[in-house]
């Protein structure tokens, strides 16, 4: 060897090495809320076997994951939970929005369903379909692997530039009619901490102690 490097020793950049490792051991967080979750399970099972791409270790704790797969529709009550789970995942992390509902709300264009999770959390790969075939999800994992290999860095500094939302433009709710403070990703359980509008008719509940808890 001209450079004096012995056999079976390779030169590379640390970035490339980290990317190679990361892309081949994606640990998914299955955020499966609807029928897309069934296809997600099929993708993980033996016939389609996502283990071929190193992504078979489904973890149900966000702290052990680096790939969130949002599979299914997300409603207003669930979105703060989704955001909290996303914030709990350690860097570097990626997100696949699986299926029509997660990408755009799908057919559920109603008052309660969020019209695409990319409005509120960053999404790297979109998978169309209702629900997508396991092959499509596999293809999205491969696409994400290519993206990680191409753009990834050891310190994850490629994320720092994405300071604006990747999703569609923000829709402003009607100020005087919409609710004021629906979501708080940091607490996500917010049942007793908001000023509830008074019940019509001045109804008393049978649990005054609960009401006192709300006040305090």
């Amino acid at each position: 060897m001209a450079l004096g490097i012995p056999e079976n020793v390779f030169l590379s950049r640390l970035d490339a090495l980290a990317n190679w490792v990361r892309k081949n051991s994606l640990w998914p967080m299955p955020f499966a809320t609807a029928c897309c979750g069934i296809e997600l399970m099929a993708t993980g099972a033996s016939r389609h076997d996502i283990a071929r791409f190193g992504a078979e270790v489904m973890r149900f704790s966000p702290r052990q994951c680096d790939l969130m797969i949002v599979a299914g529709r997300v409603v207003m009550k669930m979105l703060p939970v989704l955001q909290r789970i996303w914030l709990q995942m350690p860097e570097p992390k990626w997100c696949i929005s699986m299926g029509a509902c997660a990408c755009s709300g799908g057919v559920f264009d109603t008052y309660a369903v969020v019209q695409g999770v990319d409005r509120f959390i960053p999404v790297d790969v979109y998978v169309p379909g209702c629900p997508p075939r396991p092959e499509q999800l596999t293809a999205s994992v491969i696409a994400l692997q290519e993206r990680i290999e191409r753009t990834g860095t050891l310190t994850g500094r490629e994320f720092a530039q994405r300071i604006t939302s990747d999703g569609p433009p923000v829709v402003q709710p009607l100020p005087d009619k919409a609710i004021v403070a629906p979501g708080d990703a940091l607490t996500s359980t917010r049942l007793w901490q908001v000023d509830l509008p008074p019940l019509p008719g001045g109804v008393k509940t049978a649990f005054p102690e609960l009401e006192e808890d709300q006040d305090s």
């Binding site: 009550k77 049942l191 019509p200």
Partner: protein
């Protein structure tokens, strides 16, 4: 009326005798017998059906918003679907409500299943059930201010579903 089966006919006759004009109408369609009751006696009628005529199962409590409905006289209807488990008799009891007085007595003391059913009607239509042990929203978030199944509420809402903080990639 003619196709109301025997035992149920007896029950309806006894009810008509006791409550008189309170029963606004009795009708039937195929095997479906409907009883319309004025709202101030609805609890008494349901209590009688529960205690004396053995309708021991409350299948459903639901409501209808008749806004924009042709020839409708009242805004809301609240509907109780009852079942007598022993005899298999079914009865649909219906009452009408108008704004601003959207209050009905809770039937939680008669059927425990009224708990979540009445909460759902309250959540979707804003009809208040007085005496309910825990009347709060069951499906929508607690801080939601509208009643989404009312006909004057738009299908896509007032933008509540867009009113969340946006997390960008750099800050997460």
């Amino acid at each position: 009326m003619s196709d109301v089966t025997g035992d149920l006919q007896n029950i309806l006759s006894a009810l008509a005798e006791r409550f008189g004009q309170t029963l606004r109408s009795i009708s039937s369609f195929r095997d479906n017998t409907r009883l319309e009751v004025s709202r101030d006696r609805i609890y008494d009628v349901l209590q009688t059906l529960r205690r004396e005529f053995g309708f021991d199962m409350l299948i459903d409590v639901t409501a209808v918003d008749y806004l924009y409905y042709p020839n409708a006289r009242d805004r809301f209807a609240v509907i109780y679907c009852l079942l007598n488990v022993t005899t298999g008799q079914r009865l649909v009891v219906k009452t009408y409500l108008n704004e601003p007085d959207l209050v009905l007595p809770s039937v939680f003391s008669l059927w425990k299943s009224a708990d979540w059913l009445e909460r759902e009607v309250y959540d979707m239509f804003g009809i208040v059930f007085e005496g309910h042990p825990n009347l709060k929203r069951i499906l929508m978030p607690q801080e939601f201010t509208a009643f989404p199944l009312r006909k004057d509420y738009p299908l896509r809402g007032f933008g509540e579903r867009h009113n969340f903080p946006v997390i960008t990639r750099a800050e997460s």
